[in-house]
């Protein structure tokens, strides 16, 4: 479990992270989204006790980052922005080295390393030097390293950024499986589709502050509004859109289509269909217009930019 209360980090006069509050229960995934330099990496570094918070607290896997840094690091697996692989070492040697650092029995390290490498399709590369690994292979090996000591909390910085689609899916599947085992994940990413697919909760960080957080549905409702529906018909609508505006909020319409917003689609959609058929309109489709995390993200960031400009 991850809990942060008013977590703040200053570098001299620059405030990199500003009073962050986050809770990620065991067995869930939080996606931390934000532009470059928004404070994601600094937040993760505080959570791994690499950087000391200027103020506030963070409790990771039951340990306070300022009081028990070694325990925190022992219970956290980190995939860092820079993988920091030793190019002259072989894959297995590299994992054995980290096994020793984490004080894992060598036999157990070997077994676990083999299992994880097999999981990520890297068994063939165990005896290859890391300098010969492709970018995606290096990324997967770094992920294996982060999981090697079986940590209850995993902090992953751009876990699939350098990977091909197949490898990225392997990693996503692994995260979903590990999540079922009550592991806690914090993922920072620019891949919003991936975040939407994996995360139970999303937090958007800008200039060191969390400007929005919640489930996808909560954020969608808060920032994009009620669900939007699209009705497509055979022939022309002939002023039907005007009639609908008493019932729902019509956003836009064309000759044979109409988009409306409704807070209660389960009640309003049947009424819309009934009315259309009453007018002899033949309905081809009535479907929700999909809102993506990208829509939400852009809306949140734009709103915050507006607020910042107003303040300044």
């Amino acid at each position: 479990m991850i809990e942060c209360h008013n977590l703040t980090k200053d570098f001299g006069t620059f405030r990199a992270v500003d009073n962050i509050n986050l809770t990620v229960p065991a067995g869930s995934v939080l996606a931390l989204l934000g532009a470059n330099g928004a404070g994601k990496t600094t937040t993760v570094r505080m959570m791994t006790s690499i950087l000391q918070p200027t103020s506030g607290t963070a409790r990771i896997a039951g340990y306070e980052v300022s009081e028990s840094p070694a325990e925190v690091r022992a219970h956290v697996g980190v995939l860092t922005e820079q993988h920091g692989l030793y190019e002259r070492m072989k894959g297995m040697d590299y994992l054995m080295f980290f096994g020793r650092v984490y004080r894992i029995d060598p036999h157990e390290t070997r077994r676990r390393a083999s299992s994880l490498m097999e999981q990520f399709g890297l068994t063939f590369a165990l005896d290859k030097r890391l300098g010969e690994y492709s970018k995606g292979m290096k990324q997967k090996l770094a992920l294996v390293r982060a999981m090697l000591h079986n940590p209850p909390v995993l902090l992953l910085d751009e876990p699939t950024s350098a990977m091909d689609p197949v490898s990225a899916k392997q990693v996503r599947d692994a995260i979903i499986e590990l999540q079922k085992e009550s592991r806690t994940f914090l993922i920072t990413t620019h891949n919003l589709t991936e975040a939407q697919a994996l995360a139970n909760k999303i937090a958007i960080i800008r200039r060191g502050r969390i400007i929005a957080s919640g489930t996808f549905e909560e954020l969608s409702r808060q920032f994009v509004g009620d669900p939007t529906m699209e009705l497509r018909v055979k022939g022309e609508l002939n002023g039907f859109a005007k009639e609908l505006s008493d019932m729902v909020t019509v956003e836009e319409s064309g000759v044979d289509w109409i988009r409306y917003r409704t807070a209660q689609p389960q009640n309003d959609n049947p009424n819309v269909l009934r009315q259309a058929m009453g007018h002899g309109i033949e309905v081809i489709t009535l479907a929700p217009v999909t809102k993506t995390l990208e829509d939400i993200y852009l809306r949140v960031v734009t709103e915050d930019e507006g607020k910042t400009e107003d303040l300044s």
Binding site: R73, A74, G84, Y102, E118, H149, N150, P152
Partner: protein, 515 residues
Amino acid sequence: MTTITPPLELNTTTPPSTRKIVSNPLTDFRRVMGNALIITRREVSDSFRDWRILAPIIILTFMFPFLAQFVATQFTNYVDSFGARLIGERTVPFLLMIVGFFPISISLVIALETFVGEKERRSLEPLLSTPLTNTELYIGKTLAAMIPPLLSSFGGMGVYMLSLFFGSYQWRPEFLLVVQILILTGVQALVMVAGAVVVSSQTNSTRAANLLASFIIIPMALLIQGESIIMFMAPDAESPRGIGALWAIIIGMIVVAVLFLRVGNSIFNREELLGNIIDRLNIRGFFGKVFRYARAVDASGTPAKNIVQFYTKAIPYSLSQIRPAIKITGIVFIIAFVAGALVAMLPAYRLPLPSQDVLLSARGQLHEFVFRVEVVPMGFIIDQNIRVVILTFLLGTFSFGVMGLVIPPITLAVLGYISGTVFVAGYNPIILAGSILPHGIIELTVLLIASASSLAMGAVVTRPPKGSTVGHAWTVRLGDSIKLFIGIILPGLLIAAVIESIITPRIALWALGMM
């Protein structure tokens, strides 16, 4: 899809409150060294996989010693033909030192690569995310930077000695001289590696670090030259107990190495390594910060609003910050005074003084002298004391505060010596008290604060307060020192000088008049 079945039990949390921490120094040491050696082993084997490191090590271990042996034999034979065999003989141990020094200079390159290179590539982070402590990482990397060059160095020295021992030269060196050279080589490697860490803290690029490394290699080269002169010219160059001056250098180098290691250990922390440090000289920002802390009433740098607050809050705050240094300096002052007094007790070092009766008979002349020149000493005293204080600060800054504990205590030692001499001469103590105490109470207090401030400023680099970077801690301490200098030391010295040149002579004469 293959599912991951964890082969290990989930690394679940043990509540901190239920864990019993059993610790003793030996266990802690073994744990620290055990963890450090994990790093060392990996880095050493990594170094030995790099032909750019391996090639010079092999050449310097197996080829250079034979070249040095050849030079030693040829040179000895050459100077021998002019009847100067001694010069040749003394070249042999000198070349032993050189054979050892060349490989250890590689340790500087490895250290800069290990510390700055990793910092530059940001490849340290995965290691920093492990439970290893900063000290374990530091020791591990320091040993890794030292071991390959030292192996090469000792290997090369072995080859050199064996070739001279069993070759035509039949060299039979003094055992302790060889031990001295071996120790010197090891300590010099340690100083260079520890120094490289300090240098690396000031930069994020290997290019800049290599440039800054000249601050290590040049003094080290000068030291080698000094050592070679000692080996040639020392009167005890062939003593079975080794060369005295080299023992002194060894001790000095060990002190420097320990100080560097302490500084390096405090610098080598996660915060400093991954903080957003930029290679940019911000002079304005630096002076702004110093100015702020020179007026600060607390740790956050809140400035004093007026002179009253400066003296009632800012100065007491800074004094409280250097309290441990004041205690240490006080003890050193007392030791210096007692040492000076004890020296005066030794007949060989005693200053011959006239008897008290002779002094009393010259009272009139003394009176005339004191009142004729009373204005002149004031400027001289101020100038002299300020110079001592500034020198104390400057030298303290560059010696981790050590020199701050050397210069002012000299005054105390002299004072102790004079007191001892006067006491032995049988003078009435009131004469001495009257001649020193009126201004001495202020002057010595001020000197104590200056010395302690210099010590605190130099020493903070070796152990910055928790949560503070070395740079910030030093800047704050510099601000404190300036505050104390302006607020107490300078006015104190001025007052003491006025008292010393006007009031003290009158009290001294009054004391003499009482006799």
